[in-house]
């Protein structure tokens, strides 16, 4: 038996809270899900981009012939979740007598919905106590997330980032995820590629973590499997409903796996780079991932066969000799990440990242990793990614 295939089946913790409703006519299940949470007047929070694409109209139509009244559709969210908008939405929630929140969109929309939920459930005016470490007492109001094609990987996590400050609490898990092909279609190839890169990085991290456990594998494996089959078709045809739905499912699974496994080197590096340059996390991860996988191949760290099985599929896995599987898994994962170049810049240089920023970013990432990897390792990955030199 390959020693790298063994899993730790003792000493682990795992929590996966959100209920996932996915498929055809999933949006029409919203009234039933609200009724299941004893709610009948939701506040819908969404972004201007989502409203422009007509997705709010699809959502409203899903409530036809139900006993639900929509309290309001709050849609001024751009690409940033701020406390002032959270306070406005919380006031709207209270004035209209709403009893649940629906977040239609990804990234900042979900973060804002979580912030509003904390404000209205905990009866607070600001989030300041929680930044200072006060735990969220919970339980919060029902929160239903309807993700669109754009995701930042935090939707299914027990965390939110408001005003660039993160708050983590188990109470922040959304109650229900509703994934419908009419909503999960992408805006553009780059939007799908960015969401896919984040999901790929999360699933890859969860499958290559040092202390694996079967529960995380149960989420990360189908996620990577779906991404291997559907990510490129979704990038090439962003309006393909089946591919968009598969990528959205993979993103939720990867996000939930990552919430339990913790973030790996590539994710920490991507976050540090995004914070230093202001470039989106998806673009940073899309560029960094092939080079981070390359660095892992060169290192002596053992990689399990599970990665190869997820990326190659059962037939491909069976055709690869046992001793080559770890290396082949990394190779195929890197090839999958490299194929995102059809919609993303090929290097940090092409992204116009200043070369002098690489050292501080490497140091920030090494500091954030709490000793799991060194600044020199991070700098080597960043250097290769800057020149696009594998």
């Amino acid at each position: 038996m390959n020693p790298t295939s063994t899993q730790t089946t003792e000493n682990f913790e795992f929590l996966f809270y959100p209920k996932v409703v996915s498929g055809q006519c999933a949006l029409e299940n919203l009234p039933t899900e609200l009724a299941g949470n004893d709610a009948q007047k939701p506040l819908v929070i969404t972004s201007q981009a989502v409203a422009r694409n007509g997705l709010t109209k699809i959502l409203v139509k899903a409530f036809y012939d139900s006993a639900v009244v929509i309290g309001a559709i709050y849609d001024p969210v751009l690409d940033y979740a701020g406390i002032s908008q959270a306070q406005q939405a919380a006031r709207l929630f209270s004035e209209r007598g709403c009893d649940a929140i629906i977040a239609l969109g990804g990234g900042p929309v979900v973060a804002l919905a979580k912030a509003v939920n904390v404000l209205v459930s905990e009866r607070q005016a600001t989030l300041q106590p929680y930044y200072n470490g006060t735990p969220i007492a919970g339980p919060l109001k029902p929160l239903i997330v309807v993700p669109s094609g754009a995701s930042d990987g935090q939707e299914a996590m027990p965390a939110m980032t408001v005003d660039n400050r993160a708050i983590a609490s188990e109470s922040l898990y959304p109650g229900v995820f509703v994934l419908d092909g009419r909503v999960t279609i992408g805006d553009s190839p780059s939007c799908v590629a960015e969401s896919g890169a984040i999901a790929l990085a999360q699933a890859f991290t969860a499958l290559t973590m040092e202390a694996p456990n079967p529960m995380i594998d149960a989420l990360a494996h189908p996620s990577l499997d779906l991404l291997a089959r559907y990510l490129l078709p979704a990038v090439r045809r962003p309006k393909d409903k089946a591919a968009g739905l598969a990528v959205a499912n993979a993103a939720v699974l990867a996000s939930a796996a990552c919430a339990n496994s913790g973030t790996g080197s590539v994710f920490v590096l991507g976050e540090a780079l995004a914070a230093a340059t202001g470039v989106s996390l998806g673009k940073c991860l899309g560029i960094l991932l092939p080079f981070a996988i390359g660095a892992l191949r060169q290192s002596s760290r053992p990689v399990r066969d599970a990665l190869c099985l997820a990326v190659a599929g059962l037939e491909g896995f069976a055709a690869i000799p046992a001793q080559e599987r770890p290396n082949k898994g990394l190779e195929m994962a890197a090839a999958l990440a490299r194929e995102l170049k059809v919609a993303l810049p090929a290097s940090l240089q092409a992204l116009r990242v200043q070369h002098h920023l690489l050292d501080p970013v490497a140091q920030a990432a090494a500091q954030k990793s709490a000793g799991r990897f060194t600044a020199a390792e991070c700098r080597a990955i960043l250097g290769r990614a800057w020149e696009a030199n594998a």
């Binding site: 039933t32 012939d65 139900s66 006993a67 639900v68 009244v69 309001a72 559709i73 709207l92 004035e95």
Partner: protein, 204 residues
């Protein structure tokens, strides 16, 4: 903040779909008691249900689909005969002697032993426009079942057979789990029973 920029929204209604579903539920509801008399398979399945048993098939949420106004105007014993499609419910009652009766769409004053509900109008449309067969819809969580689950599976098998009688083969193949072969149901028997069911169910 000007809250009038974000108005309250009362979602509308899909009248054509509601009307279509009311007709379908009424048709199936009227046909099942007759099928229980003419088809041995259906009778065998119905016999497995306990006597004095009431079941209903409906679309959720109940409050959004009250019986049509004329059902409320009529006395209960007239509405219970199910002379016209009254709403998005189909109530069947097996009496003390084991006979099955269609009781219209008015749930007032009735106690249900088995309640099967489509989660939404669209879920019901998926099944009744035959884009999904009823067993597939059941597997895709389109229903909520309240009651004893084996009784619900009995009802699904009955629904399967009745759909074979009511629908032409081309459509019935989409609606049922597996269309019966000649050895299971001869075409002659099928056509004779189909005529009997249509005549007895809809000649009042």
């Amino acid at each position: 903040m000007n809250t009038s920029r974000y108005p309250e929204i009362k979602p509308g209604q899909k009248w054509i779909k509601r009307f279509y579903l009311a007709i379908m539920l009424w048709t199936v509801g009227k046909a099942i008691p007759v099928a229980a008399k003419v088809d041995k398979e259906v009778k065998k399945e119905i016999d497995k249900l306990p006597n004095n048993f009431t079941l209903r098939l409906m679309v959720l949420p109940e409050r959004a689909f009250p019986p049509f106004f004329y059902a409320k105007m009529l006395p209960a014993f007239v509405a219970d005969k199910g002379l016209l499609p009254y709403g998005l419910q189909m109530i069947l009652h097996k009496d003390k002697e084991g006979k099955l009766h269609y009781q219209g769409a008015d749930p007032r004053g009735k106690k249900f032993d088995l309640s099967m509900a489509f989660k939404s109008l669209e879920a019901a449309m998926m099944v009744f426009t035959f884009r999904e067969s009823s067993p597939t819809g059941y597997a895709h969580d389109r229903f909520v079942v309240e009651g004893y689950l084996p009784n619900a599976t009995i009802f699904m098998r009955v629904l399967d057979i009745v759909q074979v009688y009511l629908l032409p083969k081309l459509i019935a193949r989409l609606a049922v789990k597996r269309y019966p072969s000649w050895s299971e149901m001869s075409p002659l028997k099928k056509h004779i029973n189909r005529i009997i069911i249509y005549v007895r169910a809809f000649t009042f």
